[in-house]
């Protein structure tokens, strides 16, 4: 259960979004929408705890959050298998055997990650989510560079593995994921009006 109350966020001292209230129940996904620059990335980073909100609270079970951005931290000098095994070790999990099917990585298992195409690399990045076994996922445009088939694979993983086992996902995306049961939140109305001031700058305004 993820609960966000009176949330306000800023980027480099500039207010970005405010007045956010929402909650996502276990097993549900929330899709964030909004034009470029509205603050989706900033919101996800703040929810994941990488930066402080300027107001409000975000609660979810401790040690259950995980964040995935564009840059998926794949080491080009390690093989796909080694990359995933590392994240398994960090989170104290084994790499599930099924993961190779979930993300159609069987053939790429022993390739160095540096020799993958853009979409293949992305699939490895997403497979990390299946390895770390976190319940609350914050995903920033997860399907960039993926072809239609891979998007389906990913949606299927989310639905059948992650959400089905009581997981939560908050996803920022510009395309249609085909995750019809998920609620959608348009961020446009929450954009902070220009006159709002944040902690760090209000002193100067």
């Amino acid at each position: 259960m993820l609960e966000v109350r009176d949330f306000a966020i800023e980027r480099s001292g500039l207010p970005v979004l405010s007045g956010l209230n929402f909650s996502v129940a276990a097993g549900d996904a929330l899709i964030l929408r909004g034009p470029n620059g509205i603050g989706k990335t900033t919101l996800l980073r703040t929810l994941a705890g990488l930066q402080e909100p300027s107001a409000g609270t975000c609660t979810f079970p401790p040690d259950e959050g995980a964040y995935a951005s564009h840059a998926d931290g794949i080491k080009t000098a390690l093989t796909v298998q080694e990359n995933l095994a590392f994240w398994g070790d960090v989170y104290g999990n084994a790499v599930p055997d099924a993961i190779w099917d979930w993300f159609d990585l069987g053939d790429l298992r022993d390739r160095f990650a540096g020799t993958l195409s853009a979409g293949q690399k992305r699939r490895v990045g997403l497979a990390r989510l299946g390895v770390i076994g976190r319940k609350v996922l914050f995903l920033d445009e997860p399907t960039v560079s993926l072809d239609g088939f891979s998007v389906k694979l990913f949606t299927q993983f989310l639905r059948d593995q992650h959400l089905a086992s009581g997981g939560i996902a908050v996803i920022a995306t510009h395309i249609d994921l085909g995750l019809d049961e998920a609620e959608t939140l348009d961020l446009t109305p929450f954009a902070t009006s220009v006159s709002g001031a944040t902690d760090s700058d209000e002193a100067f305004l």
Binding site: S12, G13, L14, V194, D201, F204
Partner: protein, 242 residues
């Protein structure tokens, strides 16, 4: 009303504006008096000849070089603990003044060294530790300059200032251990016997007061500039938004 209120940028601009000219004025008066007194109206030292006149620049600058760093350390701590923006900006503003003082101390020292020790530079501990201090200032300023986000820059430079201070002390001990010096010890102690003669001492005091006041005035002026630039930045960012 707590004392901290004066550190609010608006308040700060308010109360510093009027005293700024006075600070510069007082600094100018003290500096001119001290230096003219020292340069024109003091006798030569029996051992050092006229080079003793360099003391009126060298010693105040050396004192302020160290004090500026200490002030930056205190300001950094205040920023880290209480997050007063003016405090971080004052630390940033002090660094270029501090490095100038360090440079003056180094260069007058070097010039003094030629007649006294026969060399512009020797790896004397006092001199060496000033050189290290110069490097710390350089690094600190470079870190400020390299980071776009002002709060991040303030945080990082504050940590650097703290860690750097520990290592600066360690360096001081290390260079003392490493080389025996040529430089004289402190003679500005309260213990009267070791003190320089009064003829040199009083103009020196006035010059020191001048340097202190100049430092104060410059830090005020520069802090005001930094506050303005933060405000410009905030306004510009705001305009950049749709």
């Amino acid at each position: 009303m707590s004392l901290w209120e004066y550190a609010n940028p608006k308040k700060f601009m308010g109360w510093t504006g009027p005293i700024l000219p006075w600070a510069f004025g007082a600094a100018g008066v003290c500096l001119v008096t001290g230096l003219i007194w020292g340069f024109f109206f003091t006798p030569d030292d029996y051992r050092q000849g006229s080079t003793v006149k360099i003391i009126y620049l060298h010693v105040p600058a050396a004192l302020m070089a160290i004090n500026a760093w200490i002030m930056m350390l205190v300001a950094s701590l205040i920023w880290l603990i209480r997050r007063h923006h003016v405090s971080a900006l004052a630390a940033k503003a002090a660094a270029p003044v501090g490095i100038t003082m360090t440079l003056i101390a180094l260069m007058t020292g070097a010039i003094w060294g030629q007649p006294m020790w026969g060399t512009y530079w020797a790896w004397d501990p006092r001199l060496t530790s000033f050189l290290i201090l110069f490097l710390f200032y350089l690094g600190y300023m470079a870190l400020w300059a390299a980071i776009d986000d002002p709060d991040t820059a303030a945080d990082l430079t504050s940590v650097l200032c703290m860690v750097g201070s520990v290592f600066a002390l360690l360096s001081r001990y290390a260079v003392n251990f490493w080389n025996q010096g040529l430089h004289q010890g402190a003679s500005l102690s309260l213990d009267k016997e070791e003190n320089v003669a009064d003829v040199f001492f009083f103009p020196l005091l006035v010059a020191i007061a001048g340097f202190v006041l100049l430092f104060f005035a410059l830090v005020l002026l520069r802090t005001r500039t930094e506050i303005r630039s933060r405000r410009v930045r905030a306004l510009q960012l705001r305009e950049g938004r749709r």
